[in-house]
Symmetry: C2
Subunit: 458 residues, 2 copies
Amino acid sequence: MRVVGMNNALLVDLYELTMAQSYLVYKKEACATFDLFIRQLPRNRAYLVFCGLEDVLHYIKNLRFSKEDLSYLKSTGMFSQEFLTYLRRFRFRGDIWGMREGEIFFANEPVLRVTASILEAQIIESFLLNTVNLQTMIASKASRVVVAARERSVYDFSLRRTHGQDAGIKVARSSYIAGFSGTSCVLAGKLYGVPIVGTMAHSFVMSFKQEIDSFLAYAHVFPERTILLVDTYETEIGIANAIAVGLRLKERGYRLQGIRLDSPDIASLSRKARRALDRAGLKGVKIFASGNLDEFKIKELLDRGSCIDSFGVGTCMGTSEDAPSLDVIYKISEVKDGSQDFLPTMKLSKGKVTYPGRKQVYRILDTQGRFVKDILGLEKEKIKGEKLLIKMVKQGRVIYRNPSLDKIRAYAAGRLSRVPWQLQQVYVRRTYPVRISRSLKRLRATLERQIKKRQSFG
Amino acid sequence: MRVVGMNNALLVDLYELTMAQSYLVYKKEACATFDLFIRQLPRNRAYLVFCGLEDVLHYIKNLRFSKEDLSYLKSTGMFSQEFLTYLRRFRFRGDIWGMREGEIFFANEPVLRVTASILEAQIIESFLLNTVNLQTMIASKASRVVVAARERSVYDFSLRRTHGQDAGIKVARSSYIAGFSGTSCVLAGKLYGVPIVGTMAHSFVMSFKQEIDSFLAYAHVFPERTILLVDTYETEIGIANAIAVGLRLKERGYRLQGIRLDSPDIASLSRKARRALDRAGLKGVKIFASGNLDEFKIKELLDRGSCIDSFGVGTCMGTSEDAPSLDVIYKISEVKDGSQDFLPTMKLSKGKVTYPGRKQVYRILDTQGRFVKDILGLEKEKIKGEKLLIKMVKQGRVIYRNPSLDKIRAYAAGRLSRVPWQLQQVYVRRTYPVRISRSLKRLRATLERQIKKRQSFG
């Protein structure tokens, strides 16, 4: 089931519409290709996980300007009747090539390549950027957390700190794709089928006279899925109370699922808890840790020999705290006016030069299928390697069927396993090689000379 | 007009629902008060601007579990029929006190105070936290940008990097409340009436053979609202081209609105541009700056004597980059079982102690109406000062009418003007005094002793 959400045709930067109106006057027949890519990896990232494709395809398929949208636009007094009529009939009719959701990728590699009427390509820009930015940023951060947790399960507890409602469900989905085992966000369970999980809050414990009463009450109602939060008052007493409840459940033929530690000093408390549980014959009771965790803290906890089976990760992952945005951009790479051929184009501003032409990303594997390097080249080139961009939208029709969520998740895991281990580190020291093909280099050099010449006579 | 958005009853952490089911068995009649507050201001913040109230009230009014919600919950196998029936009939029937939207506040001060059946109070927690976190975080960050811009206008250009669609429109609204002059996000214009603004993109310039052609095309279509982006190729040539267009518009009786600089080195380019425009007789043409701006860079640009009339601010504001979450929490402060009186309660975990009892925030003003200090006290206390918490929801009925967006914005500006100037600085060095009343201190000390005693015999 998909999110239908708000009508999002107007989720667009105003300039996309004003530029489109100018194009309608001057370049009605013009087509262009735009690349959506990330110029630079943020700090602490050695790779990115592409996510957001499902929403992009859903948007492309359903993009319409409603009557209310049009009357709002009219009310601004900015738009011509001709343009409003154009919008009323608007459908996206272009082509889109993209990477598979869950793909591993690197700086300067297009994850989406749009070839369309320049008006259409422009109008979809803001939505595409917004969608890919959020979901790819989260999947990439979450992937690091998964790697740091070394096969232990990790859960998304970030709903209360994600940036709004949409982010709440998208973080749950994106982190699941990246290898999380579930989420606390019930709506993500309903909409996407992400497994939902939960424990209890301190307020629950506090609402009973005694801690043990709160434990017994919860265990009575959920004998098969109780995880007891043991640190509302004195953690060691809390662990003892949890053991008492665990033993009672055992007598009744149930198993206490786990206890949760949410305090500082989880490392030593977790070892104490493990010993106490084991001594009491509760070896199967798991220890969950939470509380401002991220990949760095998880690594540290595990390096210090903590006895933790699962991590609940919230704010740091759900906001991608150390890098709360990606340098994601959407740049024109070729234009075609009327019946001409496409002509490559590029941006020349200082430090912001782009690559011209219709491009493909080629991935070179070693004999064991591991990723060795990528080559950013032109589509027409003959380069041996996996082609990462595949055709997904043909003349406005979505021809690519996005796999089920669990298949996407498995794909992401498979791809991650082929990334050089040096890049799967919490502390990033290596860069994956992305080469520029000789033809693309040549094209860029030629074009640079031409543009400079043209401008200096401009 | 309000956002109707997705059905958000299930935008809830699973544990809220499992705890509620336990409460339904054990504490059907129990009531509680919860405070929603921010434990600590993040770095670089000397005050916060409360935002998100409108969505909270809208949610409270419309909160229902739909048939689909209930059948999803049933499908998980976690919930009893009794609880699902309870949810089917669910309405929020409690009381909520809150601060006005746009209010200035500080650490430990409740911005929302919920008194309700413990089930109801629990079920709304995730949504309240999510909503207040995003919108207050953004309004607080945006307020700093407004202060740094020293009366120059500031626009929200962050849509492409906000965390999803909901964040896109909420950032536009929150930053407008904090004093921004408009947004690029068209949907925020439609839904909230935030003024919308826009210029043009580099791709627009690049789609024409010559830069000047792109300028002329745009100016022809929008003779009254053209802002020319001058740095796609060589900025000084771009400025010259813009002047040519400005003069043509002038001849025709129009005024070029402005030029936009989006490159490094804005300070010196803006001075050059100003001189060139003035020499050409285009004194009225404004200079817009954009490109990874935040309050620190704006301060630096102005300190260096840049000639900038308006700033377009994107990612750094729209993600609150230096502090992409607030330490916002929702803590139980009193409980009542059945026909008993309310009993104050509090959390004792290390470093996470809370304040018990039903509280009010009292603001002490000097004779000129400036904020001197706040006192966090009990509701019953007689403390002279403005009471910041007012009753907004009475037995589930929203009795507070949130003012229009422009009135909220004016309220926020008025309140900000009363904040000591030492706190209205880009570099934060001072803390606003929030005192704890003597009665509250006493209550807390007594309660701490009681709880420790109770637990050690537990």
